[in-house]
Symmetry: C2
Subunit: 370 residues, 2 copies
């Protein structure tokens, strides 16, 4: 049943995301060598690199150097979740048309989750679909958003409400790019790494507990291990359920709470990973009350989250009512029924509507008192 496999060389690792004719590799390596892999996935003569003002000065020239035999255009967007909108998507589309990119073009997302999500959605809908490559430069994008084909932009009324399931040609991860990542963003990425331990891999959860110090020092070997095992877990789940008809939804542990926080702050406060960290603590609490995990399990999850300097409580301005109002817009709501990802135990999660509203309110009120 293992639907993701692994090839190792001394230089790099490759994980295959098994989706039939939409299968693709995740290359994990370190340093400029990674970029040499990009060219083979640009099938036509033209490509458009989409990046942002933070990343462009760091990596754009390296990437351009590897694509000197292609006609490459570029779009440099502002950096931030608040720019993940239809309007900014339109900047990418306009550039594609103005520069006469046709159906054989390839879009290249060079940046974090926002760049990857927007570039992927632009590729999904430009001329009804062109190729794209993910080059995630943040930990969060490397372990989560670049893998699995979820693309989207936000709507002022809800996160990721407009998008497509659309798979890249390849994901190319340069661990070296984490050296320039600010601490706060690094920690935010760790929230999603911890998530894999919580939802599907207790062995990995234990490894994270034991290797916290190495990760905090950004030890390259530890990072490579964490990224590889995150991608393996994600690839396995995505391969089993590409369009989230069932099991894939467990990847959203803490996200319904987290999205409510992000929407409340209009994407200008907590980072996505920070909001998810808070959400995972709330989901763990609800899981405990619902009869899943023990208090000790909740404490271990909370301790690991705290170890990576992540928040465990919602922003002060937010009340339980705000959560309820915003959570009912969640994409996991079906026929009016709110569903949440709950832990059965450490390393195993389910999507469930089987909790009392009263328990949820209890969790919300308690969280908002902190």
């Amino acid at each position: 049943m293992m639907s993701a496999d692994r090839t190792e060389t001394s230089l790099s690792k490759t994980i295959n995301v098994d989706l039939g004719e939409r299968s693709y590799p995740i290359h994990i390596g370190s340093g400029q060598i990674c970029y040499a892999d990009v060219g083979q996935y640009v099938l036509g003569k033209k490509a458009l690199i989409v990046t942002n003002e933070t990343i462009a000065p760091l990596y754009l020239d390296i990437l351009l150097g590897q694509l000197s035999d292609k006609h490459v255009d570029q779009v440099i967007l502002k950096d931030g979740e608040q720019f993940k909108t239809l309007d900014h998507l339109n900047l990418i589309l306009t550039q594609l048309i103005e520069k006469h990119h046709d159906r054989k073009t390839t879009l290249i997302a060079l940046g974090g989750g926002v760049i990857g999500d927007m570039t992927g959605f632009a590729a999904a809908c430009y001329q009804r679909g062109v190729a794209f490559i993910q080059i995630p430069t943040t930990l969060l994008a490397q372990v989560d958003s670049s893998v699995g084909g979820k693309t989207a932009v936000n709507h002022p009324l809800g996160k990721n409400m407009i998008g497509a399931f659309y798979q890249p040609q390849a994901v190319i991860i340069d661990i070296n790019s984490l050296k320039t990542l600010p601490d706060r963003e690094f920690f935010a990425g760790m929230a999603e790494v911890i998530k894999y331990g919580l939802i599907s891999d207790y062995g990995f959860f234990q490894w994270l507990e034991r290797n916290t110090a190495s990760l905090l020092h950004r030890d390259e070997k530890a990072l490579a291990y964490a990224i590889e095992h995150s991608c393996l877990n994600k690839a396995k789940i995505v391969s089993a359920d590409e369009t989230e008809q069932g099991i894939r939804a467990i990847l959203n542990l803490g996200h319904t709470f987290g999205h409510a926080i992000e929407t409340f702050q209009q994407y200008t406060g907590f980072l996505h990973g920070e909001a998810v960290a808070v959400g995972m603590v709330m989901a763990a609490e609800l899981s405990r009350i619902s009869g899943g995990v023990s208090q000790q399990d909740v404490d271990r999850a909370r301790a690991l989250i705290i170890a990576f300097s992540l928040p465990i409580a919602p922003p002060e301005a937010m009340q339980a009512d705000d959560f309820m109002r915003l959570m009912v817009r969640d994409k996991k709501v079906l026929d009016g029924q709110l569903r949440l990802v709950l832990l059965e135990r450490l390393g195993s999660a389910v999507v469930s509507a089987d909790f009392r509203l009263q328990w949820l309110e209890e969790v919300l009120v308690k969280a908002c008192q902190n």
Copy 2:
């Protein structure tokens, strides 16, 4: 190899569009009875009808009456191709979020091609994909745009540049709705009907030549035959090539020329079908010069187009240079090479880059002299 089949009853006809797990029926009938079919395709408790200011007063109440057991919201857009934009798409998406529609909702397109294209694209990208139903009320939408899953909005720089291949649950065609269709729109729809005769069905072309008078009188039997055979031809081609990797492109006969006209006029002059009519005459001319059809064939095509009061020359303000500038943005351009649909003979077309630029210029200059 016939991949579309037909079921007949005394009341209505059903054509199946064969696309594996994305297959769906086209129901063709007459009168309110058609709307009784809609409810079975609304799978959840909620639906959103998208229609426009012209159609709403005519058919919205009938449709609502058939869906009284569902929670149905509605969006009424302005009528016209110039409103087929990302901004107007956003009106649909905003309504879906504000009214708490979840992934089990069904969108219903009640209107012409613009409504169908926008509603389909909204369904494709709302929460990364929800169900939708096509209820085309114009001839053009009934014979062409509602079938085959092409959805899109326009960009100021090019028609249908932003969209998705996304198939409906069903297409429900009420021939009766053509009774209220203005002449000009009826004729515009006939351009696409004639197209099927030209590209893939010489017998149908001959039938159209013989039955012009009945069609001009909107004889219900003649209309039913024309719609059925248009849908059969389209279903056959779409089934063979859903995402336009090859043969499907022949459905664009005249469209590269036509889109250039529409873009030049910013979607406020010729109707789509009128622009296509002009484009088909230009494509037939180029086909003749390239050694495909005879002068007599071109004359027969032109005569049939004229018989339905359709234009055969571009707008006066347009010059050959305008065509060249706008045509290079066409979605059939591949790696910089302009490709056009050309006729091999009446009833058979190919996508070809095998024509001299000089011949194209000759056609453009001649057309723009008229």
